[in-house]
């Protein structure tokens, strides 16, 4: 198991946003997370990255207890993330964005880092634009950069937060192809998404979250076929 959550709970005041979530993620898996707005999806990510600490429960990463480990250390251990709204370093170039992530998220000799960054840029179809300032990029390229920068920290586990939102059909397909390639090379992925067809093109399992609780986990076809899940996701009363 690369990641193991045991009864992880998080409350803001009286509101329980994550309610005793337990899930095991085997190495190499691609897991999708769906659920209505406010179901606690992003909170779950913040608990995994260490930007939030749980009120109860235990988080293991690569067999080590990281429940209280600071976010910065988890990045260096191999937890990479992309933000829902792309947050590039706008004044830096695409390449510099990656170089920063490589330098501080992983480290190593400069020549190696440069080669790695170039390889990731090639993978994410940004190589041509390596020397453009990130602030000038289109939305699709910002999303790609978000992905590429997370990759540059050398993640064992890659967390993608609604990376397909706001894209056109064609753009979305291109991005999905990239994510499939990354996954095929062995990176474990957990992906929150509401663009379901994009998600289902990549993930092996789907996890459905509602009111902070896991209400279903399994193969995408089975989950989406479940009337209950589908209705909850739509917000229709069963």
């Amino acid at each position: 198991m690369i990641l193991r959550l045991e009864n992880v709970s998080k409350s803001f005041g009286a509101l329980k946003v994550t309610d005793a979530v337990s899930v095991d993620v085997p190495r190499g898996e691609a897991l999708g997370i769906i659920g209505p707005n406010g179901a606690g999806k992003s909170t779950l990510f913040n608990l995994i990255t260490g930007n939030l600490l749980p009120n109860a429960g235990r988080i293991e990463f690569l067999g080590r207890d990281v429940t209280r480990t600071p976010a910065m250390e988890r990045v260096r251990m191999g937890v990479g993330r992309s933000f829902q709204i792309p947050q590039p370093f706008e004044g830096l170039t695409v390449f510099e964005n990656l170089l920063t992530a490589a330098t501080f998220g992983r480290g190593g000799r400069e020549a190696e880092m440069v080669e790695d960054c170039a390889a990731i840029l090639e993978e994410t179809e940004l190589l041509k634009k390596a020397n453009l300032v990130a602030g000038t990029l289109s939305l699709l390229d910002r999303k790609r950069l978000e992905l590429a920068r997370a990759m540059a920290t050398g993640p064992e586990l890659l967390l993608l937060d609604e990376i397909a939102g706001g894209l056109t059909e064609g753009e979305c397909r291109a991005l999905v192809a990239t994510i499939r390639r990354i996954h095929a090379k062995g990176t474990t992925i957990i992906w929150i998404e509401h663009v379901l067809h994009a998600l289902n093109a990549v993930v092996e399992r789907l996890l459905v979250l509602d009111f902070g609780r896991v209400i279903g986990i399994g193969a995408p076809d089975a989950i989406m076929a479940s009337k209950e899940v589908r209705e909850i996701y739509l917000g229709l009363e069963v």
Binding site: N51, A71, V75, R76, F89, L92, R106, N131, T153
Partner: protein
Amino acid sequence: MYRLTIRTRAGNATTIAVALLILIGLALPAVAPRSAIQDLFFILTMLTLAQLWNLLAGYGGLISVGQQAFVGIGAYAMFAGVILLGWNPVVAILFGGLAAFLLAIPFAYLAFRLQGAYFAIGTWVLAEVTRLLVAQWKTLGGGTGTSLPREATSAILGTDTIRALFGVRDAAARDILAYWLALVLVVAVTGGIYWLLRSRLGLALAAVRDNVDAAGSVGVDTGRLKWAVFLIAAVATGLTGGLVFMQTARISPDAAFALTDWTAYVIFIVVIGGIGTIEGPVIGVLVLFALRAALADYGSWYLMTLGVLAIAVMLFAPKGLWGLISARTGLHLFPVRRRLTGPKIEGGN
């Protein structure tokens, strides 16, 4: 196959031009009158302080209004080294840098408890406290201050050689030495900052400046970065303080810890020239000097003009004069961009 380069044609040209300027600057005392040397000393030391404040505020986001504390403590430590320990003033300047470092630790510890605008006034209070404490130091003249003893000023390292070389008197020789040291300092500080910005620290600073959350998410330690920048700026500011008061040879708490001289002017230089660039302070210090020359006879009009100019720049051209020039021409004299070179990469600098 892929390589990282920072060099550009403009950057290479700058390097050559700066090297030439340094050589000319070193040789200048042979031909320039004493008043010109004194003016240049003023310009160079102000430029040093401005580059350091720019490092703090423009790159590190730390808006300090208390840098006069480090000028003052550096100056007083230099005086203490000379008067109490009998050191040569030039050596004692280094002691000024050490004192600034020691002061910076508790200073930052307290100031970092305050955020944003309150950090600014907090540094100001801490500078005041430092001034008031130093004013209690009776052996160095307390509130009224003191002068460097004549035997120390006449025996400053190297002045004999300068006297012989240029055939000048004691005081003029001291000015030339101070000028040379200021030249060395400004080159070291500007060069050091330039190097820093091209190092991994510069990458981290730029990342934090653009987006703190994202910087944390890729592993940048923002807390340590703040400390590093603050300590570096403090030490170099202390060295500058020591040098400035070696040249004047007279010190008092009010002069050494003057908010106007060591922080207000400096802020105006950076803001008017362009914050967050190395070129900005250079432009700013020239504007300051030109205004000083033009308004020398009008007393407080000089500072008033600077204040109004700074407000106008903030309102209408927040990136300063260099920002305007750079936006028009796309020129960067001190490139810090790391470009990826190799196959399949197109355009963009």
